[in-house]
């Protein structure tokens, strides 16, 4: 009778310990999962931050990229000058440049003289003020930089350069493409 009682107490202790161990394990697993969730949400923030930083720096330099820049085609070398004629043709072949700059949208918007918004196509160019070079649906804020937008014009057979004030605007992409 005494032996039976001892066994019962022992079994109870083992059960208590097993429950305790399971509880401790579950506690650590939950703490670990919480830690991972916090960690990975920070990681996403970091990645977004890097993409934004990339876009910010790119916005200041994109106008000097050979696909956009005026070079010396409007007199001497100009910094932050966009060749509108070249950009219109780039727009027509933009599929080739998918993921090249790591941004989802690139837009050049004429800001002076102020006119009603009109998107540029080859048919209405240069009587327009927004050149949408890449346009994807995107809700992230635009990052921009002031540039001069130059093109060749002709008047009574004489070719001249026309430059206007514009803004280059960029939306950044998330993930691998950024």
């Amino acid at each position: 009778m005494v032996i039976v009682m001892k066994n019962r107490t022992g079994q109870l202790k083992i059960q208590q310990m097993a429950f305790m161990l399971i509880a401790v394990t579950l506690f650590f697993v939950l703490v670990g999962m919480f830690f991972l969730v916090v960690k990975f949400s920070n990681l996403k923030e970091d990645a977004t931050g890097l993409c934004e930083k990339n876009a910010q720096l790119l916005a200041t330099k994109l106008a000097n990229s050979p696909e956009f820049s005026c070079g010396e085609s409007f007199g001497s070398s100009k910094v932050n000058c966009i060749d509108a004629d070249k950009v219109m043709l780039l727009k027509e072949n933009i599929a080739k440049y998918s993921g090249f700059w790591g941004v989802s949208n690139i837009e050049v918007r004429k800001i002076y003289p102020i006119e009603a918004e009109k998107t540029c196509e080859l048919g209405n160019y240069p009587d327009c003020n927004i050149i949408k070079i890449r346009s994807k649906e995107d809700t992230s804020a635009y990052l921009s930089n002031f540039v001069s937008l130059c093109r060749k014009e002709s008047y009574e057979g004489t070719v001249y350069d026309k430059c206007e004030l514009a803004k280059i605007m960029i939306n950044y992409e998330y993930g691998e493409k950024c």
Partner: protein, 304 residues
């Protein structure tokens, strides 16, 4: 006689020890995994940051720019390149030393619009980045030349404009004359040097291998790179030349409607760029590049 001694451990103790050891094992295992993941994340972030920090180094109409990047720990920057797709891809991998061991790196951070020239990997806490525009004949891109602060390059008998440019850069690990014994010697007129540049014949001999160049930007690129990286990046640059040549060809047609005429043989340049096998073919392109450049400079309507 025959009396044996037994260790008296109750089942409860045995159970607790086994399960406790298992829990401890799991905790240690996941901690190590987490530390490794953290290190990989750090490496990937650093790679991305390096790429992003290269953006301000893009030149406008300046000729060269030099800057440095420092890391808190000993760092290796692996430079990889592939030329698949329209423009190929610049790949950066970073490995950092912690507890005297290099972190294992297998995360590729890629950029399509960057061209980095360096050895297969560069190792230091501080790196110098020297950027120089590559024109062929129009501006193609800025070449980023990465060197370790622990490796000095000493230029011997360099042409005056190269010596002046290096002195103007004021980059600590680039020396003109006065070579130390540890520095890597770059000779322009032969001699016992690690890197030999034949400036007139536009070729570089390094580690027993020959690289060909056109223009000073590619010459510097060849000096600071290994052959594999150099050839791959030259091919990527030519992929961009191909696209830009077609863009300028379309622009020529477009502005001719406004009475602005230019008649450059950009289609030939595009075809030559497209068919480039290695840097040896740059020589074939040089005549075409030179004549296009002259025609554009002399024309009434400059395309670039």
């Amino acid at each position: 006689m025959g009396k044996k001694a037994y260790l008296q451990i109750s089942f409860a103790w045995l159970f607790a020890i086994i399960v406790g050891a298992f829990i401890l094992f799991l905790a240690i295992f996941f901690s190590i995994k987490l530390i490794n993941t953290e290190q990989t994340i750090q490496d990937a972030k650093t790679s991305k940051e390096i790429g992003i920090l290269l953006n301000p180094l893009e030149t406008g109409f300046e000729t060269t720019k030099s800057t440095s990047i420092s890391f808190p720990a000993e760092t290796r920057i692996y430079n990889k390149c592939n030329n698949k797709g329209t423009f190929g891809r610049q790949i950066i991998q970073v490995s950092q030393k912690s507890f005297n061991k290099w972190s294992e790196t297998n995360i590729d951070v890629g950029f399509s619009n960057k061209y980095i020239f360096s050895e297969e990997y560069v190792e230091a806490k501080k790196f110098y980045i020297f950027s120089k525009p590559f024109d062929f004949p129009f501006k193609v891109s800025d070449l980023m030349l990465i060197t370790s602060s622990e490796k000095d390059y000493c230029f011997i008998d360099a042409p005056l404009k190269i010596s002046e440019e290096i002195l103007f850069l004021n980059q600590e690990n680039l020396l003109v004359g006065n070579c130390s014994t540890q520095s890597t010697k770059v000779c322009f007129k032969g001699g016992d040097c690690e890197i030999k540049v034949d400036y007139d014949n536009k070729r570089i001999v390094k580690d027993g291998e020959i690289m060909f160049f056109e223009g000073d930007a590619l010459m510097y690129a060849g000096i600071f790179s290994n052959k594999e990286v150099y050839e791959c990046q030259v091919k990527r640059l030519m992929q961009r030349v191909d696209s830009l040549a077609l863009l300028y060809k379309n622009k020529a047609v477009f502005i001719s409607e406004k009475g602005c005429y230019s008649n450059l043989d950009l289609l030939t340049l595009s075809n030559l760029a497209n068919s480039l096998e290695d840097s040896k073919d740059l020589f074939i392109m040089s005549n075409s590049v030179e004549s296009i450049e002259n025609e554009n400079d002399l024309g009434n309507c400059k395309l670039w």
